[in-house]
Amino acid sequence: MIAPPPTLTSFMRKRGEWVSAFVFLLPLLFTLAIAFFYAFVRTVYFSFTDYNLFRVSQFVGLKNYLALFRDSYFILGLVHSLVYAAIVTASQTFLALLLAVVVNQKIRGLTFFRAAYYVPSIASSVAITTIFIWLVNRRGTVNWLLGLVVQYWPLMITAFGIAALVQVLQVLWERRHGLPVKALDPVLLATSLLVGAVSTVILGRVGLIRSNPEVEVLIPWLTTRQTFLGIPLPLLSIMMLNIWTTTPTMMILFLAGLQDIPQELYEVADIDGATPWQKLRYVTVPALRPVMFLVITLGLIGTIQMFDQAAITAGIAPLESVITLAYYVFWAVFGTGTLPKVGMASAAALVLAMLTLIVVLLQRKVGFSERGWYS
């Protein structure tokens, strides 16, 4: 069937709709034009000049870009940003999915757990980072807890070892008498733990096992250049912090996605005799692909551009242990105490923007895309 030719009235109506839409979009377009497009064009222009906020700028060609790749701090920032993005995005996505699956169950106190998990996300990033600095200072809570483990590990190992042994014996005993108990039956487990604890106390008193109360753990989490698997310890600390604060936000996204998955799919899987892991692997994860794409993309953009935690910890940690690309941009402008190197900073900001775009596109190409499981 051939569509009727457009009449003047329909054309006018369509045009009217177009104008209305444009009027509604205008405030956003205006903001975008000023805050993004204009700023972007200026940044591109500055990146080819030696502008310092005050001097009339001279065109310097690619000098800033070439200087960037000769600057050891820039190279470090680049490597740190990529490593940070990869590890934090992967960890927070995995943990958020697990948490979402857990809080999606019908368990007692669910609202409390959902709220408790979400608290780190709503606190201010600066406040959280400041608290985190206290937690990880040399005599902070993290080292104190690690110290307890180091001091009492012989007791802990003994207690858990005995408890495990008693549990195995109890389960075997019950099954031998025809009772179908689970390996981790709660009543038996409580008894085993009690026996483990009491025996350890007795062994400790007798002097057969000893703790090391004089050992003190003083790991300088932030004020050090030590590395772990090639990653500076301060950066690793910031990674832990960020995973802790961002995971809950991603959990909420997954939770929304989980509630959209048709229950029938799980029922079918149950009929087929699927294990919980198989249901997660073959039902939940494929059905969550669009949410997964969103979570990973937001994660990558947020982590590659990480600035605030680096800026706060840079006051304590060696710069070369925490510098990221976004912090490099700030540091080049205001960090040196000399006139701002806006040209260099602009070039670095553009490299950061390009890098973000490339990483997100690459992820979309080889990782999770926004296409749903049904397509």
């Binding site: 005050f54 040399r138 005599r139 902070g140 004020t223 050090t224 030590q226 040196t336 105490g337």
Partner: protein, 414 residues
């Protein structure tokens, strides 16, 4: 009715005229100065200088970043703080104006009224760009009760590096208190390095940190923490060494007069004293830093009334205001005449400490806290890193200081 309207209009026009005569002048400073500055403005400026209303704008962000950003955008306030630490960088922008002409016409303040070293500190190419409001230098603050408890003599002006180290070792009593709270902080370390003979830069313009003098000073400065007789403020669980001293977790700290108001507010019964930094050897050289902040004016102040802006600066640096600030224990005034203030004759620990800080600035070896074209961030950043590594045993003195020199040379493009 007509009469009423005419009278009303006249009153309205008169009111408008009065309102228009009031010029608003914006003064932006460190947020920590807020209570003092609001007090000073309400006592000495607002309602006192006719037609002027000064608005205090506390700045919580990095102050240099604020100044550079607002000067560049043309939104700088009428009066800015100019810290000697970065004064040259701001003067180089060409966007703050010399105050010599205003000063020449002023009946209240002239260059001769200022302590010469403070006037010289803000003079670039023969022009004065800021009027110093106060100044400070470093002294040793010590807790008398802790020294008494351990039977150790108080630190004094006759101390050398060796005797000072010995006293700190003997007074240290962890975990009750450490002998000192010392941070890997270039602003505390560099005066000792200069005293040991380290130049700011070598003759060829390269970094001096690999020189023996720098290494000897770094070895001594970090030896307190390495020996466990001093701890950083972070290790003690407070924000800065002064807080460790106020909390009586450290017997000694190296700070300036800025420590006095917090002691008065947070631990007013603290039994403390203050003395000069130790000399390298008996009768030998002694280093120190002179810290000062002045009031400066942008080339085109937003009020459009540079004359009134200078008038406010005049009042803020007047003998009355400076005497008031001195007596409130906040800062040491920049006017020569006030050096004979009766306040300095008082015998309470706060006045005595203030006097010691003041006297320390006049000792030979005290240099202005400024980094010229090198940039304080560049210069101090590499030193801070080196001191951190040495204190934590992650590098030897030689390795860390050589690396600091290499890094600064890299930053200087050498």
């Amino acid at each position: 009715m007509r009469k009423f309207l005419v009278v009303f209009s006249l009153i309205a026009v008169a009111a408008l005229g009065v309102a228009q005569e009031t010029v608003t002048i914006r003064l932006a400073g460190y947020s920590g100065d807020t209570p003092l500055m609001q007090d000073v403005l309400s006592r000495f400026v607002n309602g006192v200088i006719p037609g002027v209303q000064v608005v205090w704008e506390p700045i919580t962000e990095d102050y240099l970043a604020f100044v550079l950003r607002t000067l560049s955008a043309g939104t700088a306030p009428d009066i800015i703080y100019v810290d000697l630490y970065w004064a040259k960088t701001v003067v180089e922008t060409g966007l703050i104006q010399p105050l010599d002409e205003f000063m020449a016409a002023s009946p209240v303040i002239s260059r001769e009224d200022l302590i010469p070293v403070l006037a010289d500190a803000f003079t670039f190419d023969g022009k004065l760009y800021a009027i110093s409001k106060d100044f400070n230098s470093l002294v040793i603050f010590y807790n008398k009760d802790m020294f008494d408890a351990m039977g150790v003599p108080y630190p004094d002006a006759g101390d050398t590096w060796a005797t000072f180290l010995d006293k700190i070792a003997r007074v240290s009593n962890p975990p009750e208190w450490y002998g000192a709270s010392i941070n890997p902080d270039a602003a505390r370390f560099l005066p000792f390095a200069f005293a040991a003979g380290m130049p700011f830069l070598k003759d060829d313009g390269t970094a001096p940190f690999d020189l023996p003098a720098a290494k000897i000073a770094a070895d001594w400065y970090t030896s307190f923490n390495r020996a466990g007789i001093a701890a950083t403020s972070a290790d003690i669980g407070v924000g800065w060494p002064g807080a460790a001293f106020i909390a009586e977790k450290a017997a000694v700290c190296i700070e300036g007069g800025w420590l006095i108001p917090p002691i008065r507010n947070e631990n007013p019964t603290l039994n403390f004293g203050a003395t000069f930094l130790p000399t390298v050897w008996q009768g030998g050289p002694r280093g120190n830093y002179l810290f000062t902040v002045g009031y400066g004016m942008p080339v085109n102040p937003p009020s459009g009334r540079p004359d009134l802006v200078f008038k406010v600066i005049e009042v803020l640096t007047s003998p009355e205001v400076q005497e008031y600030i001195l007596e409130s224990g906040h800062a040491i005034p920049s006017r020569k005449a006030l050096l004979d203030s009766p306040f300095f004759q008082q015998l309470d620990p706060f006045a005595l400490a203030t006097k010691t800080v003041f006297e320390a600035t006049g000792l030979p070896g005290t240099v202005p806290f400024t980094f010229g074209d090198v940039g304080g961030g560049n210069y101090m950043g590499v030193v801070n890193e080196a001191l951190t590594l040495i204190m934590q045993g992650e590098a030897t003195v030689d390795e860390a200081m050589d690396e600091a020199a290499t890094k600064l040379n890299e930053k200087l493009g050498l």
